[in-house]
Amino acid sequence: MPSLFKYGGYLIYFWSNENDEPIHVHVGKGKPSANATKIWLTNAGGCVVAHNKSEIPVQDLRDIMEMIAAQHFWICVSGKNTLQWIGSSFTANTTSTVYPVLFSFYRKVLSIRTFEHPAYVPPAPSFLHPLKRGNEGEQHAANPSANAHKDSHRFHWDPAGFQPVPDGFLLVS
């Protein structure tokens, strides 16, 4: 079971033979388990709690999710390399009621409002459309160099400009 990193005594790892699901990681202390807390990675660079069967305290869970979101880029690469993960990170099925309910539950009960990566720019009104990572396209046009583009969007995060995504649609990539 490929482990990714340890954070505050918690191990964050993949569980093999689960590559028919969106990219996700498990989190827990002690012996790794397929039933440990599961966190999906979203296309927008964030993450969402699928379940918390490890019963991680809320404050720890929030810190862990923030940390996982910061590692989003290499977790996805690692998942695809080590597990041949075919699918991309999570994209909401807007016809499903499961994901909106899950998200709504965690947002209300755990007070977890925003899991977005700092590079995440709130989606345009067309948030039901396939992922556009922020204003990536515009920035790319302004900075044709791939590296310049990568650097340009990383730290242009304006918390004041953040608008929570409506219930149920945070997961839309």
Binding site: I64, A119, F155
Partner: protein, 89 residues
């Protein structure tokens, strides 16, 4: 003072300092091996490598990307004296 941040799967320990004058935070990468440690240190926010011993270029490239994605958390925890969750271990 050094504060633990995370530990990668290859046992590379990542730590950071307090915020120093000029808002500099040093991030340390330490990986144990049979004869000691591989070591790298990078100063933020300039992303200047001030020490490199043992890590391959590809690993340093990865650390660069890592730092760009984690600088916001590293600065927050440098300001607050380390992450609570990491201190509780």
């Amino acid at each position: 003072m050094l504060y633990p941040y995370i530990t990668l799967a290859d046992e590379t320990e990542i730590l950071h300092t307090d915020i120093k004058p000029n808002n500099v935070v040093e991030v340390h990468f330490e990986r144990p091996h049979e004869d000691g440690f591989d070591t790298a240190r990078c100063a933020l926010p300039s992303y200047t490598w001030i020490k490199r011993e043992g890590f391959a270029d590809s690993e340093i490239d990865f650390f660069n990307d890592f730092l760009h994605s984690n600088a916001h958390l590293i600065y927050r925890y440098a300001q607050t004296g380390g992450a609570d969750i990491a201190k509780s271990v």
